[in-house]
Symmetry: C2
Amino acid sequence: MNEIIQFDLLMPKRIVFGWGMRAQIGILAATLGKRAFLIAGSRTLQRAPEWEEMMQALAESGIQVEAIATTAGREPTIEDVDEAAAIVRELHPCSDDFVLGIGGGAAIDLAKAVAAMAMNAEGASIRDFLEGLGTGRTLERAPLPVMAVPTTSGTGSEATKNAVISCHAPPCKKSLRSEKLIPAIALLDPDLTVSLPPAQTAYSGMDAITQLIESFLTKRAQPATDMLCQIGLTKAIPAIRAVYRNPEDRQGREGLAVAAFASGIALANSGLGMAHGVAAALGSVCDVPHGLACAVMLPIAMRTNLIPAREKLGILGKTALRPVATEEVPGSAAEAAISTIETLLRDLDIPRRLREIGVQQRQIPELVQGSRGNSMNGNPRDLSDDELRGILEANW
Amino acid sequence: MNEIIQFDLLMPKRIVFGWGMRAQIGILAATLGKRAFLIAGSRTLQRAPEWEEMMQALAESGIQVEAIATTAGREPTIEDVDEAAAIVRELHPCSDDFVLGIGGGAAIDLAKAVAAMAMNAEGASIRDFLEGLGTGRTLERAPLPVMAVPTTSGTGSEATKNAVISCHAPPCKKSLRSEKLIPAIALLDPDLTVSLPPAQTAYSGMDAITQLIESFLTKRAQPATDMLCQIGLTKAIPAIRAVYRNPEDRQGREGLAVAAFASGIALANSGLGMAHGVAAALGSVCDVPHGLACAVMLPIAMRTNLIPAREKLGILGKTALRPVATEEVPGSAAEAAISTIETLLRDLDIPRRLREIGVQQRQIPELVQGSRGNSMNGNPRDLSDDELRGILEANW
């Protein structure tokens, strides 16, 4: 008896993947409009030859580029979004316009948020629209279409329906979330990720791996995203080791790019879990880079979910997360999966304890409060505040 | 050495698949807008209990439904589109509106064409916009979003970027083609296809199978669509036999629905070939139902392409189109693939010669002229008019 097929998948309408595909940026952009509001990822990127190539391809396709904002390598803040959206509004966005985000997850999240706010906020702040923070305002008008060109392999933001925005008061990270936020086009050229240094490569790659594992284990998992998670993990685990050793390993860069994109589709459709819940708080309370926070929390979350998620952890332990022969571990396949991740973190020089990434013990209650939200709600094991505090204390 | 991954895939942003998923129609519709312009597939469908269920689900989600048109089971004509688009324009379409197409390929094509014309034609005819017929006008404004709910498994129109429109003078079928025509949501519930009688099931299923084979063989084939074609054919061949014998075979209905959808993504991204080129002419010149025309032309096209496409036909002959053990044929794997299709047509009671489907010999020159277009341009073997006439004569 075959399994009954059932799924509900949201994804970008157009997905373009491949080495050198950035050369297509002008032709692809022309399918969205004539004027691009550009959100760029960093000033370093803008000095790279690939940047010049892309700007030229846009010009050759007759696209007028308006530079709106450059992100600083951290999640965009409420102020970043409001300011950039105001600039776009002053340019009178029309149906021939679109937003072009080129950069890491922060740039693409900012692009998505600006595309939405330019058409919806009418002078109000994005704060009103943020999940669990604002006044519950929703996107009434369609955002400008977004073309996302990631230069890291990590967040999968080019495939997701949310943008993570940082807030200073109170310190927190919250999502602008709507199905309307999924980019119209995702253009993935692994070449654009090759210059990312080893540590950032490891952090962003671990974000993708955490997303793949959490989407696979979540209460909201579904067969179609399970398949994506397994394919993504099978590529990501050898790929992250390869590119950490050699940033120019092409097969590794390609594998991580596929895995990160798959993780975006998976999380957009099935959500995440406890590691991402706590990682958001680690970012806003303790200023830990997002990928590093995910990486440190991942084995803790897997152990916490060992009982309710034993079966699915066991599937991973026998497939994508099977320990290599020289590292056979005693215990069940589920425990083997956790052990594989622990070994991986050691090989990527990522510490295991919260105190090693700058968390102070007195911050733990604030971390517990900041961990609640959409990700935590999907976690296989329901956790009281006391339970979560105990887990964080034990791993401090 | 792993194969380098490269692709450029266009598809609906949201794909919902599964038995009973029609119950989600209201919730899905609400993500597109508040008012649905409804294009329906047939009056029979509108008397089915599933129809009532869907209308109720739409009402429960607060969707206002405006009935615009019902198709007559054939491709929509220029007049059908112009008339329906005029009705929509009189209702002052706005950003809260969308077009809902429920029916076979004709209804979904009409829905897509109306969504485009309501926003672009401003009183002009769709004729001006048709490929190879009109004045070359293009879609300047974004069409209304479309939600496609197929009730047959055949054309894959719910995933494609064109709408096939019939013209009386001259008699032809031409496409309105734009990437903007891809439906925003494809909702596939195999249950909606169960009531389709055996002959129509066979014809529409053979349309999907022809699309899968032609997209696999075309000059424009790419690895991502090749994979979709192989998956689709592996499901489609046993499924079409099963549902022809027993229209209520659930696994067969499900397999055909998956295959037809995959064929739509494949053709939207890689195009078709000679069988579809001639099938368009058979429809407009000789009034042959589209799926039947495809079915009769498929083995003829495979034989015509035997030399340039031998390798890929061979792949099919060893995999999805491998003859079953009792039917081992002499010759190469490529010939085995053709033989599998010929045997399948015999089992589906589909004739082999053009004269058996109502073609008169004197119509052949007109068929040759009517076969030119986008599909024929992708055919593996380039054919002169004389060569094509010779092939049609030989198979008359």
